[in-house]
């Protein structure tokens, strides 16, 4: 149905475009933070506490999006927060994808004991509530950027492993795998050259999804005071602080929340868009 397909394509490219633009903006903010942030994100000015954003009455135009209770500039903290958010997203996302996909591919293609052991591990992992697991891990190994990344990888590899395993099993049943066997291709070669490219779009979509999740996990950990440090400008920390002063200064919660929401949404939409774009049949 070329008609339906072109509508799908149009929608996919629009979504790719929108989400890509927003993420590019965030990445740019992260890269250029020290130069474009109007204020020092840590500088407190107790006389300028809880100033509203520029369009509200009583605003100070020097603080575009207002200030928090300690008089820190909300916009500057959001811009610097993008650095931490993107670092966590990239490092944790890629590491999780590598570990989980590798185990998933091995389990799904080799089957047998490898599969039994890996699947059982996944089952055990899935028996923990991930948020609680994360909080517990951080409590044990200590706070900080590296700890957060390690915790995300340790907890979320199962997400890749499950999906990639199922997909690898499906692909293994296809005749092109039988054909490669007949051609004398070894198992490693089949896994890498034949099955790999067919599983890659799934991994790519999961990867961008995972990046969004990583940003959220950081926010959740900030929220229970277990992230990096209470001072550091993280979106989660700002949201946690905004939640406590929501009746006095809504903007401290709203702006980082909107940014976080759009970023997480863009990551997942980017993944879906890329998956369609990579699909040779849809393309």
């Amino acid at each position: 149905m070329p008609d339906g397909r072109s509508a799908v394509k149009r929608r996919a490219s629009l979504r790719l475009w929108l989400s890509g633009s927003w993420l590019a903006l965030v990445a740019l903010a992260a890269l250029l933070a020290p130069w474009i942030a109007p204020h020092d994100p840590l500088a407190q000015d107790l006389f300028a506490g809880r100033l509203p954003p520029f369009f509200a009455a009583g605003a100070d135009p020097a603080y575009l999006l207002g200030t928090d209770s300690l008089g820190r500039d909300v916009l500057s903290r959001i811009i610097h927060g993008a650095r931490i958010a993107l670092t966590v997203a990239l490092m944790a996302g890629v590491a999780t994808a590598l570990l989980g996909s590798l185990l998933g591919l091995l389990a799904g293609y080799l089957r047998g004991w490898t599969d039994i052991v890996i699947s059982r591990l996944v089952d055990i992992w899935m028996a923990f509530p991930p948020v609680l697991f994360a909080i517990l891990l951080i409590a044990v190994i200590g706070t900080g950027l590296t700890s957060i990344i390690v915790a995300i990888v340790v907890i979320d590899w199962t997400r890749f492993c499950r999906v990639v395993r199922a997909e690898a099993m499906n692909q293994s049943k296809m005749d092109y795998v039988a054909s490669a066997t007949i051609a004398g291709q070894g198992r490693a070669s089949i896994l890498w050259r034949e099955i790999g490219p067919n599983v890659l779009p799934t991994i790519a979509a999961l990867l961008t999804l995972e990046m969004g999740i990583a940003v959220i996990v950081e926010a959740i950990l900030s929220f229970v005071n277990l992230s990096i440090s209470t001072d550091a400008p993280t979106w989660g920390g700002m949201i946690a602080e905004g939640r406590t002063s929501i009746h006095q200064a809504w903007w401290v919660l709203v702006f980082p929340l909107v940014v976080l929401f759009l970023t997480v949404l863009s990551f997942s939409q980017l993944g879906e868009g890329l998956k369609d774009r990579f699909d040779p049949v849809l393309r």
């Binding site: 089952d123 948020v131 697991f133 969004g212």
Partner: protein
């Protein structure tokens, strides 16, 4: 017969999973660098304090020995005593579990209602703008996790248009006649619909936050399998017989299209229950998850172990129930 054997096999793997979970929780806390006793004590405690406390909790023994002692207790239903609350773990956990269960089940019901309605509407109005709108809503719904939805809901309906409660499980002024912790259930039994209504008003926001991602997933998957089913010959055949479109969707396509969604709900419901941990925190809802976070902050090892194990048990039971329901609903397996 086959079902019975399957059930037994499944129970065996469940036991393995739970044991594995117990081992991992136990060792993560102890093997990973960091002294749990040092975590328990305030900064500035002397080495002597640490040694004394270690001996008190049996932490001076070797780790396998500690595990053996703890696990023997668990098998007898003894999870030890909470350090921060100075009470046995088991009654503490059981006291909080009903609140979490009620919240999770309410969220599940909401998710099935919203997701089901979206899927049916999208199928009925397929290839229209309405379907496109539903697709977009589903896409946004499942891209954004419960934590963010909770914040958005707090902002919109707690602060901006304050129509719902955003804190606690029941109004503090209410005087409670309940003997169990299943408040919602018991309020119906006691015909106290005023309390029932108050409970629902408190639960609605956290439950909706938990429900939105699951509703979107159900909406998307069920619609997809409904649309696929609509192309199958038996559905086409029903249409040639003169049945109206609504009837074809609901009575021919739905019973079969629902099966793949059902297996998915199993896993997703455990994710939802996992989500209660942070959602309860956000809404100051006195459930198991909120207690778990306190336990971690207070470094209350026995309590953490107990709570995590109860969650693990809950998850495996949910999966078991879903698998069995699937087998019962699928005539192919039922009559095997």
């Amino acid at each position: 017969m086959i079902l019975l054997r399957a059930l037994l096999t499944r129970l065996a793997t469940t036991v393995v999973t739970l044991f594995g979970a117990a081992v991992i929780v136990f060792f993560v806390i102890r093997v990973v660098p960091g002294n749990p006793i040092a975590m328990m004590l305030p900064p500035g405690a002397t080495d002597e304090d640490i040694a004394r406390l270690s001996a008190h909790y049996g932490l001076d023994r070797s780790i396998p020995e500690q595990f053996a002692i703890w696990f023997a207790g668990v098998l007898h239903g003894d999870f030890g005593a909470s350090i921060s609350l100075r009470q046995p773990v088991m009654p503490l956990v059981l006291g909080r579990l009903p609140a979490t269960l009620e919240l999770a089940i309410f969220a599940l019901v909401l998710a099935v209602m919203i997701g089901g309605a979206a899927a049916l509407t999208g199928t009925r109005l397929r290839n229209t703008r309405t379907e496109a709108a539903i697709d977009i809503a589903n896409g946004v719904g499942l891209s954004v996790p419960d934590f963010l939805w909770a914040l958005v809901l707090i902002l919109l309906f707690g602060i901006l248009v304050p129509v719902f409660h955003i804190s606690g499980r029941i109004s503090p002024s209410a005087d409670l006649p309940f003997v169990t912790q299943f408040y919602v259930f018991e309020s119906i039994l006691r015909l106290r619909f005023d309390l029932w209504w108050d409970l629902l008003q408190h639960m609605f926001m956290p439950a909706l936050a938990l429900a939105i991602p699951l509703a979107a997933i159900i909406g998307q998957l069920l619609k997809q399998s409904l649309k696929e089913t609509m192309h199958l010959d038996y559905v086409v055949l029903a249409r040639t017989k003169g049945y109206a479109e609504n009837k074809v969707i609901v009575s021919e396509a739905l019973p079969n299209a629902v099966l793949p969604t059902l297996t998915l709900i199993g896993v997703q419901f455990t994710f939802l229950i996992g989500g209660t941990v942070i959602i309860e925190r956000l809404f100051s809802y006195e459930g198991l998850g909120n207690m778990a976070i306190d336990a971690v902050i207070n470094r209350d090892l026995p309590l953490i172990q107990g709570i995590v194990l109860v969650f693990a048990l809950l998850f495996t039971v949910v999966n078991l129930v879903v698998d069995m329901t699937y087998a019962l609903l699928n005539p192919r397996l039922r009559h095997a």
